[in-house]
């Protein structure tokens, strides 16, 4: 044991010794000790309110139960969570939270992921004793993506505090008082702030719900995967949730270094493109005026035949993974070609209360990765296309004059999730790939953080992960094959080849990511 320093406090929680920095709350110290203290109003991303009174714990020698969220640790403190006294107090809170609750779990979207359900099941009374009429308030549309079911509300005020202290846009309030109190807003001031949707996850019960996700799935029907939001270069960590191979919801996944506990509404609500049904699901080669389906070997052989000895110009999507982009850059390098990309942009919307968190102007996940891997960002990406080059379009669409610019190419190979309209008459080979929700890989965010995303649903038909397809293509074009058959093997090759990624391993990234070499130096400088 180390001796207690001025900054560290040693205490015991449920018999487990734990050392935490001075000023830590008992609730956070308990987390560190692996003990969950039930709570509602407390949230690590919000100021402490101490109002739900659910986190009452027994502190040795204290006359009264202490709210764990609002009580700082003290040296030698002995905290007990599961004493009779504390249990009875929490049962009392649970009973009171339910007396006016409609108990409509069977039709509530929150069911299955509801903390009121969980804690009641865990330690609540089997039956309530409330025999009086229940309070009733109407359901209210809060605007934006938010709907408020007041009858289920437990007045924890997480949503109010989020809008006040994190968004700095206080448009939610607690209205009225006593048992008449509800979460209120002002007529005409809707929850349309770009970050307002976070109140949906912050709500521990089924009071604030997403209109977008309403009634789409029960929580237990969802397939979930840890992922990264692909909709801008911030790289917010998310959970992607799918039902029947269709994404129905995207929610923030905590990452202290990137997005804390939040994500913006633009990111949150932009998942439908991942569910497109007009997908290319079979490799194709040109046969006269039409593209004909074929097997992978045939398509890859055709691609190799077309590109043999030619300069390859790659137009890549900044939505592709580091792995796919790395392999594409290898194709470029070997053929003496060039690579370019372009980025859709929009207004930047920062979250006021969190440093360096914003909906970024660049609305693509891997702009930084594309740049690092040698792709040139251009408004007109086909500018560098030489006459007679093989144009390799990787998951990108061409519109307007760019499409006509493509005519300069000697031949066109499309690697994509969908078949662009212009390519129907010009593409020589089409190689179908999975979209990011159907594969795994890494993105590099705006600050140079390399983060993994994982697969949540299956790719259609014969489509394969992008890194897999590009690796095959690279090999077909004469490149050195990647040993092993996993994305981690591609990443290992990437980190061996590129100094920015040196020293990183796929496993080492974990689910929180790691900074590229240059960015680390920048950060520590």
């Amino acid at each position: 044991m180390t001796s207690p320093s001025a900054q560290t406090v040693n205490l015991t929680i449920e018999g487990r010794p734990v050392s935490v920095p001075a000023g830590t709350s008992i609730l956070e110290a308990a987390k560190a000790a692996g003990v969950l203290i039930p709570h509602y109003c407390y949230h690590p991303g919000l100021p402490v309110a101490g109002v739900c009174r659910m986190c009452l714990v027994d502190v040795e020698k204290a006359p009264k139960l202490a709210p764990a969220c609002a009580t700082s640790v003290a040296e030698g403190q002995v905290v007990r969570v599961h004493t009779e006294k504390a249990l009875v107090a929490r049962q009392g809170v649970l009973e009171m939270l339910l007396i006016n609750h409609p108990l409509d779990c069977p039709i509530c979207d929150q069911a299955g992921e509801c903390e009121l359900q969980d804690y009641t099941y865990q330690e609540g009374r089997a039956e309530g004793r409330y025999r009086e009429p229940k309070r009733f308030n109407p359901v209210e549309d809060f605007g934006g993506d938010v709907i408020y079911v007041a009858n289920r509300c437990i007045l924890c005020t997480r949503c109010v505090r989020f809008m006040d202290d994190v968004v700095h846009h206080p448009i939610l309030n607690v209205s009225e008082r006593g048992d008449r109190a509800v979460i209120g807003k002002f007529e005409g001031e809707d929850m349309t702030h770009p970050w307002a949707g976070n109140v949906i996850e912050l709500c521990p019960v089924g009071a604030l719900l997403s209109k977008d996700a309403l009634n789409k799935a029960r929580a237990w029907e969802l397939d979930r995967a840890a992922s990264v939001c692909p909709n801008c270069s911030q790289g917010c960590n998310v959970m992607m949730e799918a039902r029947d191979n269709t994404i129905v919801r995207m929610r923030p996944r905590p990452n202290e270094e990137v997005n804390k506990y939040f994500m913006c509404d633009h990111g949150r609500l932009n998942y439908r493109w991942l569910n497109r049904r007009d997908r290319v699901d079979v490799p194709m080669v040109r046969q006269g005026a039409t593209l004909a389906g074929c097997d992978w070997d045939r398509a890859l052989a055709e691609a190799a035949r077309i590109a043999a000895g030619k300069r390859v110009f790659v137009l890549a999507s900044p939505m592709l993974s580091n792995e796919a982009l790395f392999l594409l850059s290898e194709i470029v390098r070997r053929s003496g070609g060039a690579g370019a990309f372009r980025v859709a942009t929009g207004p930047e919307s920062p979250l006021a209360g969190v440093e360096d968190l914003a909906l970024r102007a660049d609305r693509a996940a891997n702009v930084k990765g594309a740049e690092l891997l040698g792709f040139v960002r251009r408004e007109r990406p086909l500018e560098g296309l030489g006459a007679g080059d093989v144009l390799l379009v990787a998951d990108e669409e061409l519109v307007g004059e760019d499409a006509s610019g493509a005519a300069k190419a000697g031949a066109t190979i499309v690697v994509g999730t969908t078949l662009p309209f212009w390519a129907r008459h010009t593409a020589a080979v089409v190689l179908p790939i999975a979209n990011m929700s159907e594969e795994e890989g890494t993105f590099t965010n705006i600050r140079g953080r390399v983060q993994r995303y994982t697969q949540v649903k299956a790719a259609p038909g014969f489509a394969r992960p992008s890194w897999f397809v590009v690796a095959d293509l690279m090999t077909a074009l004469g490149g050195t094959p990647i040993t092993g058959g996993l994305p981690s093997d591609v990443f290992a090759a990437l980190s061996a080849a590129r100094p920015e990624f040196a020293g990183m391993s796929y496993d080492g990234l974990g689910m929180r990511g790691a900074m590229i070499a240059g960015a680390m130096a920048e950060a520590s400088a």
């Binding site: 009171m96 007396i99 409330y130 008082r177 006593g178």
Partner: protein, 437 residues
Amino acid sequence: MGYPHKPHARETPVLSQYFGDSDARTLDGWRTRGGYAAFERSLGMAPADIVSVVKDSGLRGRGGAGFPTGVKWSFMKPGDGKPHYLCCNADESEPGTFKDREIMRWTPHALVEGCAIGAHAIGAETAYIYIRGEFTEPIARMEAAIKEAYAAGILGKNAMGSGKTVNVWVHRGAGAYICGEETALMNSLEGRRGNPRIKPPFPAVAGVFGQPTTINNVETLVAVPPILNNGADWYKKFSRSDNPKSTGTKLYSVCGNIARPGNYEVPMGFPFKDFLYDLCGGPLPGRKFRAIIPGGISVPIQTVSEAEASLMDYEGFVAQGTMLGSGGVIVVDDAQNLVKFIARAARFFAHESCAQCTQCREGTAWTTKILERIAAGEGTTEDLDTLLEIADNMTGKTICVLSDSCATPVVSGLKKFRSDFESLIKKKTHHLVPAVA
């Protein structure tokens, strides 16, 4: 007899000396009665010396908690470079209590002076008097007095020529009992909902506007000028010989079913029996006392025998199962339905709950519904057990004590007057089909 009657011979009118004397309201009138002499003297004293006189006097907070005033003042660290504030709690809202109202109506300058001395003693340049919104006349009286005091140079940038800044302002509440809780008062003063704050930090560290703050009740502050004028020893004499912990005179408001309701001022340790029968005239003709609450509706209900055995000071009431509280004496006689009385008290708390803590927001309303059902003859014996369990859940578990206050009359009522509840349950004519919660 106490105000609105002439003082009873056994009263000790120190604070209430000029109740009913409309001349005392004006600055001139107040000065001829010795007003502002204490403030003038205090301006020549070191703040620490004022604090020590108040400490020596044994003065304790008259709002309900009874915390020693001098000790509270000594928490304000001089020279910390921060602005200090004094808040005067004139949100008098505890049912049964109406003493501060009379102080402000009749002797507004006494409060201005008390605030000015208090502000100087704690190193504050500004004192806010937070008066409940319903007190229209006290507000007007206080504002008139403050205006006079500014015009006469007693308040302002150069208070009484001392070179010190002493500002006193009235801040009007708008209908919220909870704003009498000190941290809720501070929130209200800042323009927020009157929600009590979690402590720590305590007001002396981070109070109103985030700065060190002291909050004192009206009656506490008006006791300060007489203490400075007459000395701590003089004040300490108003106590019983065997209890030096409670000193000074105390104003009691008396209401309910009693012959002469009103305000009475007696020294600490006065026999409650004499107070009730002699000073206040006992029960109404043909009635008997049934239950007595001596310190505002938040303190435990006493039986008549408990009340008759009580000595009127902080410790004396505790010895008889209740508390001095705010000194609001509520008397209920045998012609009343005590359950209905308690149900109405619970409804008060349900109405006034700020809605922050779960047990209070839901518990006060639930308790009210059960009690009203029992009072209406629809109760069951299980309800009584439920009431006690709810009360237990509401006690000692919330940010402030409003929740506890709602539980108190229920618990003490059921403990001491259970038969009142049971007789209503037995009379029950039909049974409601219970809804399942």
